[in-house]
């Protein structure tokens, strides 16, 4: 039999919706997810998508608090939760926005994203992971790297987000590997660490060669039968090397923590290790949950 939840934690991104039923001690007791990401929903589709997923956890005759982070708070989301501007702490109980819901059992609070004025930049969802990390390490002074479709480099000091920069590395990789002429040359399985390392160092040393190094992958596949897993590792290395060259002011001489998907974090870790930097990996889902718990506590406090 399904138990009701003390409250519900929700990570609502562009392409996925993920929810946890939480007990009174802030431990997850059930988990559910669906493909009902922000991109797939019109404004009136958010409440039904949420009810589909968490309906069984709601108290039948009361109100359940739901704390959500991510693109659900974007202009095209359920309701816009306006950005908080850097420098700022990652969580602002007073800036959370209540989403309009017809079902009286729902009290949905959306965590706002964070923006930066110059250079212009935005995040939605990562601020919650940062808050989760800082809940366990409140005195951390260093850099968080959150690799993904749009990788974030975040300078954190005295509990605040000081500045950050977003690199479109993951999205460019997906487009090149899946939709460009390189799709004929790049495999989807296996990996060549040596090719990755060579490409990272190459791109860091000569970032301006990026667009021609890309085509070399295609030509090497046609002329020299470059194996698909080697081409894939090189493509990844070129992109991550270019990013590491550009993000150097963030990571050079700093303590760096990687918060992201395990495989992707390993790749960034390998890339940083080539510059002698040992980055500390942290589990992204755990940080998200810790951040949602911190938001719940801030709201209750």
């Amino acid at each position: 039999m399904t138990e009701t939840a003390a409250w519900i934690a929700v990570d609502w991104g562009t392409s996925n919706l993920r929810a946890w039923a939480m007990d009174a001690g802030n431990a997850p007791v059930a988990e559910a997810s669906s493909g009902a990401g922000m991109n797939t929903l019109a404004r009136d589709g958010f409440e039904p998508a949420l009810l589909d997923l968490v309906g069984p956890w709601l108290r039948p005759d009361g109100v359940t608090t739901i704390i959500a982070c991510g693109m659900v708070g974007a202009r095209q989301g359920w309701i816009e939760a306006p950005y908080v501007v850097t420098p700022c702490v990652p969580l602002h109980a007073e800036a959370m926005v209540r989403a309009p819901a017809a079902d009286p059992r729902l009290a949905v609070q959306i965590i706002p994203g964070v923006s930066q004025a110059a250079p212009p930049d935005v995040m939605r969802g990562e601020e919650t992971q940062i808050a989760g990390f800082l809940a366990g390490r409140p005195r951390f002074d260093g850099v968080l790297c959150l690799p993904g479709t749009h990788t974030k480099w975040v300078h954190v000091s005295a509990g605040e987000i000081v500045s950050f920069a977003t690199f479109m590395t993951g999205e460019v990789f997906a487009l090149l590997a899946g939709s460009s002429v390189l799709r004929h040359s790049v495999g989807s399985d296996e990996w060549s660490e040596a090719d990755f390392a060579e490409a990272v160092e190459d791109a860091m040393a000569r970032p301006e060669k990026f667009a021609s190094r890309l085509f070399v992958l295609r030509a090497a596949s046609l002329l020299d039968n470059l194996r698909p897993e080697r081409a894939r590792a090189r493509l990844s290395g070129l992109l991550i090397g270019l990013e590491l060259a550009g993000s150097k002011p963030y990571w050079l001489g700093r303590e760096v923590v990687l918060i992201g998907d395990a495989a992707l974090a390993r790749t960034y870790r390998s890339g940083l290790a080539l510059s002698g930097l040992e980055a500390e990996p942290q589990d992204a889902t755990a940080m998200t949950l810790d951040g949602l718990v911190a938001a719940r506590s801030a709201l209750a406090g």
Copy 2:
């Protein structure tokens, strides 16, 4: 009434097929085109696609010579015309490959592409434009830039292709503007020359910032209402600036001729002008036709 052709010139690319009926004096007397590019055809589809287009120009009771350049000679084309390796003259009558045709009226000759061993690189079609240019300027010593989906920079000396480099700039622009998160920020009309110039100079000065400068376009559109035509010009400038930084060993201190689509060539010309270089534009279609004429003459000679 349709006249028969002395011979037929064909430019057969990845996504288009274009043909000209030529008279005995090597002047085009009729032109036709279709969307039957190499990408859309199986191996047995090439002959019917060609007959659809040029059938009316064929001598009814004789053989018509057809000279074709482009991806029709790729491994996935009608028949593979193996690459000639640099350094080499752009045209090799003896390396042309006769395509197998069931219709006895067709004598189809395919011009081979050119490859480079190190760094690995390939071209198919551009060698014919280069031959066309050199037919009129046989003593040219300098650099040809052929902007397009895969822009080529070609060092030409003593009638030979000495070396070349391909940049995937056009394809990356199309993917980012059409399929990435930037599609929400980038317009399709109008242009801002000032934004283009600023982005070119920015990318040339700090090529390693490429992936973060991309996301700034998105953030500036969300936070500062950056207008779509300005975002488009900046995206183009970032990509062309990155390419100009990487292709500097080709163009610095050289005579540069641009062979390409008029609008795209103008964009490259503006970018190069920011570094004080005045590139000479040449019409791409004229160069293709001149090259096919040169191939026909080489074959007949």
